[in-house]
């Protein structure tokens, strides 16, 4: 017994001294691994941005850590947002990338939200989620006129309540009175695309920045047609596609589109850190994020992969989120009715 105790002690001492070597003074991020937890499946738009940023951001962070991307999917990325808030350590080594429209869920006190959006530390957003509504050619909905004239409701694929595609589709339905039947439950934009291509639904809606990359061939061949865009000013490559705002007939409709589609675009693709992350690490990552998004090599690669880059800084993101939580109760009530009923 005595012998065994000695041996255990010996092993313990060995291990402790060994690990001592690993410690030392260096920039915090040196030798560290930063994980970007993407709340949506690999292969989709959110994932594509995260992986691109993960490849280029290390050289802009002091200490050049390794960045890896992990996908934690489910419930329209709510799982990962909650994880970031409740479980992830606030040490600057976990970055979350999820659907910012979940902030609406918090505002409207939806079930399952276990985060406080205003407590996240934001390092920035890579693009604005500006929704485009697209339909397959064979559905017959090849223009807004045909859509409005449709006698039957038109099926559109969504993901889950509170997810960006669902929000956009619901707001279009209420504010513009378009004939829509939302079919929700597809996991990510790749499944939405397959549903459109197989004819299960007529069309769908998600961010143009992602759509033009992932659906490029079908859009070029005309098998899929962009019919409506929810942006204040038309996209450069969609000059003739009508704007949602120009169809709004009432003040209420304009408000819904402004808050629910335009303003939410800024915070819909956030890169966030858990609450309580040391400020100097937040600042370091926020700066690295900005530098990355202005990096020439990064921009070239983004261009090749056809990913739109539209930087929203951490500060701007924080303001946009704060703006959401200072909305008039009447507007909140109306939005809630549209998005969650």
């Amino acid at each position: 017994m005595h012998k065994t105790l000695v041996s255990i002690a010996a092993v313990l001492v060995g291990i402790t001294s060994f690990s001592g070597i690993a410690l030392g003074a260096a920039p915090f991020f040196e030798g560290k691994v930063i994980r970007i937890i993407v709340g949506l499946p690999a292969g989709g738009g959110y994932d594509a941005y995260a992986r691109l940023i993960a490849r280029h951001m290390p050289k802009h962070i002091p200490g050049n850590p390794t960045l890896i991307v992990e996908n934690m999917t489910g419930a329209g990325s709510l799982i990962s947002a909650n994880h970031l808030f409740r479980v992830a350590k606030p040490d600057g080594l976990t970055i979350g990338h999820f659907i910012g429209n979940l902030f609406f869920n918090q505002l409207m006190k939806q079930q399952g939200v276990e985060f406080d959006a205003q407590k996240f530390e934001f390092i920035g957003a890579s693009a604005k989620e500006e929704a485009v509504f697209a339909f397959s050619k064979k559905s017959g909905i090849t223009s807004l006129e045909k859509w409005m004239a449709s006698k039957t409701t038109v099926k559109m694929a969504g993901q889950a309540p509170g997810a960006a595609p669902d929000n956009a589709i619901r707001i279009a339905k209420t504010a513009l009175g378009l004939p829509i039947q939302l079919v929700s439950g597809y996991k990510g934009t790749s499944e939405q695309r397959l549903a459109v291509e197989s004819g299960e639904v007529a069309g769908t809606s998600y961010a143009w920045a992602s759509m033009r990359a992932t659906w490029r061939k079908s859009l070029e061949s005309g098998d899929v047609v962009a019919v409506l865009q929810a942006v204040p000013k038309p996209f450069a490559d969609l000059p003739k596609v009508p704007l949602a705002m120009s169809l709004a007939r009432t003040e209420e409709a304009r408000q819904l589109i402004d808050v629910g589609l335009h303003k939410s675009g800024e915070f819909s693709r956030p890169f966030a850190l858990p609450p309580g992350t040391p400020q100097e690490r937040v600042q370091a990552l926020a700066k690295a994020f900005q530098d990355t998004l202005r990096d020439k090599e990064f921009l070239e690669e983004a261009d090749r992969a056809r990913l739109d880059i539209d930087l929203v800084t951490g500060e701007e993101l924080k303001k946009a989120v704060a703006g959401l939580f200072s909305l008039e109760p009447v507007v909140v009530a109306k939005l809630q009715e549209v998005l969650f009923r």
Partner: protein, 673 residues
């Protein structure tokens, strides 16, 4: 077409591409063999290299790696009973018993040969599917996907072994367990106990490791001998296994087809197809009693299917840009970076399209598997020796691999709790003769069935039931479901007149008392199910429909089972697996079983206290020195190796994010990693 085929070959024949393929194979070889090393982690680390390669090189590297992972994963499954990859779990069920019978060589020969056949089949399926796949898959919608999931679930029937009712209950419980987590439609929490780690549902890896590897650990610890238990196989076992592949040629081909074509469906990968193939192997055998005890067909089926799956998932990735797995998603990223867009273009010859590139995938899959299988055959003799190492030296290794594997799937500490819980459950199921594979099949198919059911109803109302595809698959399902019943009925008729087979309880010499562990366990299932259904009263219609649709029928089945056991209509005491075939007394078996469970709990506590690598290293030393009284030199050597492996290899080199131990948190020590 032929031109593109040749073009594809010439593309990978270049020096760099071929060299990268060999490198990929070398990495894949070890990724496959080591549980806990696989998928996301490895690929995340490979990503930076891929960006700098051209598409063909990137695919040579990634596909070369991916193509061999399942083959070498099967080796671990057979030799030590721990699935080397989540996709190689089904091979454990019959492969490891073969190793325990001293037939490791035959099992390996069979699995390697069938893997090769499967891989080639998958590659051919990919090549031949290229012209037809787009229109074919586009005729499928959510209703057809749902029906295919249902068809898969009916395979449970043939996985049930002798006891049909228990098999159905087990499969039903698997489907029910699949509802744990956030409901995919409305995000409501189901059976999560407020635990965030359960929101994603119960991971497949902790369950399979718990169900299959932990009972083997217990067995090894109880027997205190080698895996093969002193039984040494006669020479030529490997060739015998190779020949087995040809003896069961059509079954191997059918299982390959299951692997390749099931994988075309988004949401189905190797983790599912292996079990479908295993079920088919059981179903098509005349003598089902041998399964689970070392039937070579049970090795051939999954061996072929988990390899042919790659070809199938490539079909969907290439034709639609829908990645079936993270590997495929990363391939997709490589596509986009190089300006290649998956879709119809992949099926048009160069220079307008990329058909040659697509065909190069076919070649990579075939060539890398030939190389791997050839390599494995060279080292087979050395590999088989693992089964002759004494158990006391293997135990720490296997336990470490179990914990490592359970942790590394999602890098979640709580999964270590799950693996122990399901280990205990798996051990009980094994002892009481409950079939375990149906539960796994239910678990993997449940989520697919649920989400596609809702999408079908939302899209088509009730009209989806009348779609031709749905009807066709429905008929197939009925035939597949009822055929085993019919066979059973016929078999029973044939047996009539013969003296009735004495039931298991009496052959084991256990006293057939009305109340025993078997009945107690069944009652426990009943209680658990009743509680789960009572809990579900708070679910809304969307979140509740699937649990109810599964839960109430299973409740009926469990009640039937209870009644039958209580009235003595069926045997309720399980076969005494641990005692069978050995002279150990009941007391010794019980003591050693309790002992090994205590050790595993100790591992868990040590990991919690000291962090992963330190905890596991300490336990390894303790288990060797205190548990097994091994020599100082050997104990220290193996302990050092464990440390180097967990801390150095997994922690420092692969950056597995092990959580810090609580001791270091209390003492506020800086983070290890």
């Amino acid at each position: 077409m032929a031109q593109a085929l040749v073009f594809g070959l010439t593309q990978i024949a270049s020096g760099t591409a071929f060299g990268l393929m060999l490198l990929g194979i070398a990495i894949g070889f070890f990724v496959g063999i080591l549980p806990g090393l696989g998928g996301p982690t490895t690929l995340a680390l490979m990503l930076p290299f891929i960006v700098k390669m051209n598409p063909v090189e990137a695919f040579c590297f990634l596909l070369g790696m991916t193509a061999v992972v399942n083959t070498t994963g099967d080796i671990t499954s057979i030799l030590v009973g721990v699935p080397g990859e989540p996709t190689a779990a089904a091979t454990v069920v019959d492969g490891h018993p073969m190793a325990k019978k001293g037939e490791a060589g035959r099992a390996l020969g069979a699995v390697l040969m069938s893997s090769l056949v499967g891989a080639i089949f998958g590659a051919l399926a990919l090549a031949s599917a290229i012209p037809v796949v787009r229109p074919l898959v586009l005729t499928f919608g959510s209703p057809e996907f749902f029906m295919l999931a249902v068809l898969g679930i009916t395979f449970v029937a043939s996985l049930s072994g002798q006891d049909f009712l228990r098999g159905l209950i087990s499969g039903g419980l698997g489907l029910f367990l699949a509802t744990v987590g956030l409901d995919p439609m409305s995000g409501i929490q189901r059976y999560t106990f407020g635990q965030t780690f359960l929101w994603d549902g119960i991971g497949l890896v902790p369950i399979t490791l718990g169900f299959f590897a932990i009972p083997e650990v217990v067995d090894l610890a109880v027997q205190r001998s080698t895996i093969a238990g002193g039984r040494v196989e006669k020479l030529g076992g490997v060739m015998d296994g190779v020949k087995d592949t040809f003896r069961h040629w059509w079954m191997v081909i059918r299982c390959s087809a299951i692997g390749a074509y099931a994988a075309v469906i988004p949401g189905i990968g190797g983790a599912t197809t292996q079990w479908l193939a295993y079920a088919h192997a059981v179903q098509s055998s005349r003598d089902r009693e041998r399964f689970g005890k070392g039937a070579v067909e049970g090795v051939l089926g999954p061996g072929a299917a988990n390899n042919s799956t790659l070809g199938g998932s490539l079909i969907t990735t290439i034709a639609f840009g829908i990645p079936a797995s993270i590997t495929m998603a990363i391939l997709l990223g490589a596509f986009l970076i190089h300006g290649v867009v998956p879709g119809p273009d992949m099926l048009i010859p160069e220079p307008q399209g990329h058909l040659g590139l697509t065909f190069s995938f076919v070649w990579i899959t075939v060539i890398s598997n030939i190389i791997t299988v050839g390599l494995c055959f060279l080292f087979l003799k050395q590999l088989i020796r693992v089964t002759q190492i004494r158990g006391s030296l293997l135990l720490p290794l296997i336990i470490m691999l179990i914990f490592l594997g359970a942790f590394a799937e999602k890098n979640t500490f709580e999964d270590l709790v799950l693996v122990l819980m399901f280990g205990g459950l798996g051990w009980i199921l094994q002892r009481l003769n409950w079939p375990r594979p149906p539960l796994i099949l239910g678990l993997v198919l449940g989520p697919l069935a649920e989400s596609r059911l809702f999408l079908s109803t939302d899209n088509y109302g009730a009209a989806w039931l009348a779609r031709p595809g749905v009807l066709a698959i429905g008929v197939l399902t009925l035939v597949g479901g009822f055929y085993p019943l019919l066979q059973r009925w016929q078999a029973r008729r044939r047996q009539k007149g013969q003296p009735s087979v004495p039931n298991a309880a009496s052959t084991n010499g256990a006293e057939p008392s009305p109340l025993n562990w078997g009945i107690l366990f069944t009652l426990l299932i009943l209680a658990g199910l009743v509680w789960a259904l009572w809990e579900s009263r708070r679910f809304n219609f969307r979140a509740g429909l699937f649990p109810w649709a599964i839960g109430f029928p299973v409740l009926g089945l469990v009640i039937t089972q209870c009644l039958m056991e209580l009235t003595g209509k069926v045997s309720n005491a399980g076969g005494d697996v641990a005692v069978e075939g050995s002279e150990l007394s009941r007391n010794v078996v019980n003591r050693r079983t309790a002992g090994i469970f205590a050790w595993m709990a100790g591992y868990f506590v040590a990991i919690w206290l000291f962090g992963f690598s330190t905890g596991v290293t300490l336990c390894t030393f303790a288990l060797l020195k205190i548990g097994a009284h091994e020599k100082w030199s050997l104990s220290l050597l193996l302990t050092a190796a464990t440390w180097a492996f967990t801390y150095g290899f997994f922690g420092r080199l692969l950056h597995i994010p092990f959580p810090d131990g609580h001791v270091s948190l209390w003492l506020n020590l800086p983070s290890f990693f």
